[in-house]
């Protein structure tokens, strides 16, 4: 018996990374800004997106959404009410989206042309751990956090918050009754991802949406 060491130096998620790089090139060529929204279950991703899609539509922008869900198509139906093209990705129990699911659902999406879109939003499965390892080819990763779930979320999930390009604090209409400590939340986000843009919004009242939409427009141009 002899022993042999074989050097591999291969990324464990190499396949996903390569697929994601292909998607990114495709999105860029089509001139579509792609965002990947990640948060815990119930943070308000769908509500935030509903509002975003409606307001973009009012501005004459063309946006679409892909929405990941473990079992149901409830979120897709809610989002489709905005009038935007929406497609459901049912992961059948898998706790995150991956690049292959995105590619598959884009290809089989009847009537959708990336060239005709300004923005594509991807609502990930509600989970703060697993989605952070899977590149979907997005240009902007958005981490969301609601005023009801504790100011220390960024400290508990640094893997996700550090990988994000922007953060959104949701449900600020109920910040006060929840005893939400805004300064502490902002400080924690800053400690994990210095310099990250933070938006404070309410899907219910529309507060903070203006700054968010301005950011989208700026990123779309940039």
């Amino acid at each position: 018996m002899t022993t042999r060491i074989v050097e591999l130096r291969r990324g464990i998620l190499k396949k996903n990374d390569e697929l994601a790089a292909g998607l990114r090139a495709r999105f860029q060529a089509a001139g579509v800004l792609v965002l990947n929204l990640v948060s815990s279950p119930g943070t308000g991703k769908t509500a935030f997106l509903e509002r975003t899609l409606r307001e973009l539509r009012a501005q004459g922008k063309r946006a679409a959404a892909l929405v990941g869900d473990l079992e149901t198509d409830n979120d897709a139906r809610r989002l489709a009410a905005s009038g935007a093209p929406v497609r459901q990705i049912n992961t059948h129990g898998i706790c995150h989206l991956d690049a292959e699911m995105i590619a598959k659902h884009l290809d089989g999406w009847e009537g959708l042309s990336l060239d005709a879109l300004d923005m594509l939003f991807i609502e990930n499965v509600g989970n703060l751990v697993c989605p952070s390892s899977y590149d979907l080819g997005e240009r902007i990763r958005v981490a969301l956090l609601s005023v009801t779930e504790g100011e220390d979320k960024p400290l508990k999930y640094p893997g996700l918050f550090n990988s994000a390009d922007a953060a959104v604090i949701t449900k600020i209409d109920i910040a006060e009754p929840c005893g939400f400590d805004r300064e502490l939340a902002l400080k924690n986000i800053r400690e994990i991802r210095p310099g990250m843009r933070v938006f404070e919004t309410s899907a219910k009242t529309g507060a903070g949406m203006e700054a968010w939409l301005a950011y989208l427009a700026e990123q779309r141009r940039g």
């Binding site: 042999r4 050097e7 591999l8 390892s133 400290l155 893997g159 400690e191 991802r193």
Partner: protein, 126 residues
Amino acid sequence: MHELSIAASIVESVSEAAAAYPGARVKEVRLRVGALASVVEDALRFCWELATEETPLRGAALAIETLPVILHCEDCGAESAIETVQSFRCPRCGALAADLRQGREMEIASIELEEPEPSAAAPAST
């Protein structure tokens, strides 16, 4: 829990690489995993056993090297490892630092094979 998908990806890559060495048994798989990679070591070990159970990799050990986060500081130019991932500050000057130089890796570094006898010809690498 995405450790099962991760374990399955490792099994796939390692099986592919080991196929170039007929008759060899994989003794150990060595990983390099960044502290920010969102991989839970215990969960991965558990899933590794499940994922290898019915494969030729059954019984192969998993060695996991954890890589600390290394930050580059714009303020003082230092490049240093931080001890926790609760605060991304330069250990030398205390400034917040966003420039990550290490910490997200998820890599199969190498595999250790046990071969019946020294093979004469070097097999083609993949």
